[in-house]
């Protein structure tokens, strides 16, 4: 398992390299240059333009820029933004900490919602709860974030404010101080709505996945054996059925974790949170290569780690699945 993990991590490095190279190439292919975009409408005198271009090293041949980028990267330096001269490390650190917290709480909430809805609707199949769950899961999947976000703001912010239902008002500012990275020290209320908006989209999908997977497992012979052993229904569901139903759920949860990175970014926009949301769009439009590349590295690395954890978890869930180092090419 250890060898496998190392191999997989090395593979991810290749993926990062390929992605960065591709994006680097793209920045040279697309028309326009970041310096004239930076100056906006005004056209700069040629001397100043040349100076600025030289300052960012953009006067060098492409391959020199490329190797310089890697040289700095190995030292942990992602370079400086063309747009505002801020260190990319700082931009990512500030923006990503908010995004990461939103992602963390969104993902956690997503798991809780998916497990609760999926389990109840599978166990109480055909009940009122199952029907409500089905309507909820089918209905919510199609709603884009800018709709669900605004709807949430209205229902749990604007409306309670107008009606003076203070207890229902969850439209509060994002927490300012945190402990252990993700736990807010001032107020929880500000997290709930954005995290919920991030969570619900895929939570619905995962819940449906869990429901169908569980329904199949609950028909299995070993579930009948478990009941015949004299175990309580709760024990059978949680100990015997749930673990067997988890493989497809873990797969979609992993994919969803990567996908909701994008959802989190949109949610930040809707809730005006100080995350990466606007930075990503702005940097791409102004061809701010260092920022975009830096962000891409983080996202790709995150994806690689999530995929690795998902693969390793298969072997933990089901002993029939062997993590075989020979299977990796």
């Amino acid at each position: 398992m250890f060898t496998y993990t190392i191999k997989r991590l090395l593979q991810s490095l290749i993926v990062v390299w390929a992605a960065v190279t591709l994006m680097f190439a793209l920045f040279f292919i697309i028309p326009g240059d970041p310096i004239s975009l930076k100056s906006g409408e005004k056209s700069l005198p040629p001397g100043i333009l040349a100076n600025i271009t030289a300052k960012y090293g953009l006067d060098q041949p492409t391959y020199v820029q490329y190797f310089r980028f890697w040289g700095h990267l190995f030292k942990g330096d992602l370079g400086y933004s063309y747009k505002n001269d801020k260190s990319v490390n700082t931009i990512l650190h500030d923006g990503l900490s908010t995004s990461a917290r939103l992602l963390f709480w969104g993902a956690l909430l997503q798991l809780i919602i998916a497990l609760t809805v999926g389990l109840t609707s599978a166990i109480k199949r055909g009940s009122l709860g199952d029907r409500i769950g089905t309507i909820f899961t089918v209905g919510i999947q199609g709603i884009p974030v800018f709709v669900s976000g605004l709807l949430a703001q209205y229902l749990f912010g604007v409306l309670p404010f107008q009606m003076h239902w203070d207890w229902l008002n969850f439209f509060k500012p994002w927490p300012q101080s945190w402990t252990a990275g993700v736990i807010p020290t001032d107020s929880w209320k500000g997290i709930i709505l954005p995290a919920l908006v991030v969570a619900v989209v895929d939570a619905a999908f995962i819940a449906r996945m869990l429901r169908s997977s569980l329904l199949e497992v609950l028909r299995a012979d070993y579930i009948r054996t478990a009941f015949a052993k004299g175990l309580s229904a709760r024990r059978v569901w949680f100990h015997h059925a749930l673990r067997n139903a988890m493989i497809p759920v873990v797969t979609v949860y992993g994919t969803s974790l990567i996908a909701i990175f994008g959802v989190a970014v949109q949610t930040e926009k809707v809730f005006s949170l100080p995350g990466m949301g606007s930075t990503i769009a702005d940097s791409a439009l102004s061809q701010d290569a260092p920022v975009v590349l830096g962000l891409a590295i983080v996202v790709i690395a995150f994806g690689a780690v999530v995929n690795l954890v998902v693969d390793l978890s298969y072997a933990l869930i089901d002993p029939r699945i062997k993590i075989d180092s020979k299977a990796v090419h």
């Binding site: 299995a220 012979d221 070993y222 009948r224 052993k229 004299g230 175990l231 067997n244 002993p319």
Partner: protein
């Protein structure tokens, strides 16, 4: 005779389906005494598995309904026993093994975990003691190296070994009754005999009654004391095993006997088959369920359900014609 261990009294089990009510069991009665091995024989759909599952309350309700009847376990009716008490009986007093050992064990837990789990549900003992008990049980059913194999997962065992593990698990809480639902059907022929032998040996050793459900009369002849034949949701004949094989009283049993290939008789004739097919239990025949396939049918068979009568001591039969003086001679 002592009090019966299990007495199924005029049991009806129906299923509400989209095609109407399926009358799986229509008045089945069966008695099991302590230490007895009883075979319940019938073809697919005769209701034998539903009977067995009903004893442990493993038939999901809905769709199942129990319009009539009782299942008396040492005098208490299992059909009305609350779930909490039923759970103590399941595994603790009555345990069950199933047809397919490949799918009857949970693939994600070790054999040892699954046996110990059951032991610890029924007795307050430590995990360590439960493990020792599991090893002991696996040893009893002839599992080689039980102390090592206890940490293996089901997929690391062969079918026969898995069924041994199932038997070990079923016997681990010293039950008084073991229900074996087609325990050898899914196994290789060579393994079948071994499993039956282990089943009989352990049951006799631990003085456990066995209700052996099978469609295979050969299996019954091998290990049972008494046989009940089921057809169309009713017991149609019940007899000590030797008597039944010597002289079947019910035309259905007679047909079953004739359709067993005989090794000691050289025959050029094709093997006998009972004509027709089993009744559709959503629309069961009005009279005797076997009437449409019976060679000896009379008008009365189509209109009136025969009663289960005691033809001779310990010999129960459900047939209108059995009381005719020369009918038995015809069957012989």
């Amino acid at each position: 005779m002592s009090q019966p261990l299990l007495h199924i009294d005029d049991l009806y089990v129906h299923f509400n389906t989209s095609d109407g009510v399926v009358q799986a069991i229509n008045g089945a009665s069966l008695t099991l005494n302590p230490g007895e091995i009883v075979g319940l024989v019938g073809e697919s759909g005769s209701g034998k598995s539903v009977t067995a599952m009903s004893i442990l309350g493993l038939v999901p309700k809905p769709p199942a309904i129990y319009p009539k009847g009782r299942i008396l376990w040492k005098g208490i009716d299992l059909l009305t026993t609350p779930d909490r008490e039923l759970r103590e009986i399941r595994g603790g007093e009555i345990s069950m093994i199933f047809q397919d050992p490949m799918t009857s064990l949970n693939p994600v837990y070790t054999i040892g975990h699954q046996i110990s789990e059951m032991i610890r549900v029924h007795s307050r003992i430590s995990a360590k003691t439960a493990k020792l008990r599991s090893i002991e049980m696996l040893d009893l059913v002839g599992m080689p190296n039980p102390a090592q194999r206890i940490d293996d997962y089901p997929h690391q065992f062969s079918g026969g070994m898995r069924q041994r593990a199932m038997i070990a698990m079923a016997l681990s809480c010293s039950p008084e009754l073991l229900i074996a639902d087609e325990p050898t059907t899914a196994l290789d022929v060579t393994i079948q005999a071994q499993i039956l032998e282990i089943l009989e040996k352990s049951a006799r050793e631990l003085n456990v009654s066995v209700l052996l459900i099978t469609h295979d009369l050969g299996v019954v002849a091998g290990i049972c004391d008494r046989v009940a034949v089921m057809y169309g949701g009713r017991i149609v004949e019940e007899a000590p095993v030797d008597d039944l094989f010597e002289r079947p009283l019910m035309p259905y049993t007679w047909g079953l006997m004739r359709s067993i290939p005989q090794m000691d008789k050289v025959s050029t004739k094709r093997l006998y088959t009972i004509p027709g097919s089993p009744p559709v239990m959503s629309r069961p025949p009005k009279g005797c369920a076997f009437a449409p396939r019976c060679e000896f049918v009379i008008d009365r068979c189509h209109t009136e359900v025969p009663q289960l009568i005691e033809y001779a001591p310990h010999r129960m039969v459900r047939c209108h014609r059995v009381s005719e003086p020369d009918f038995i001679a015809v069957l012989a």
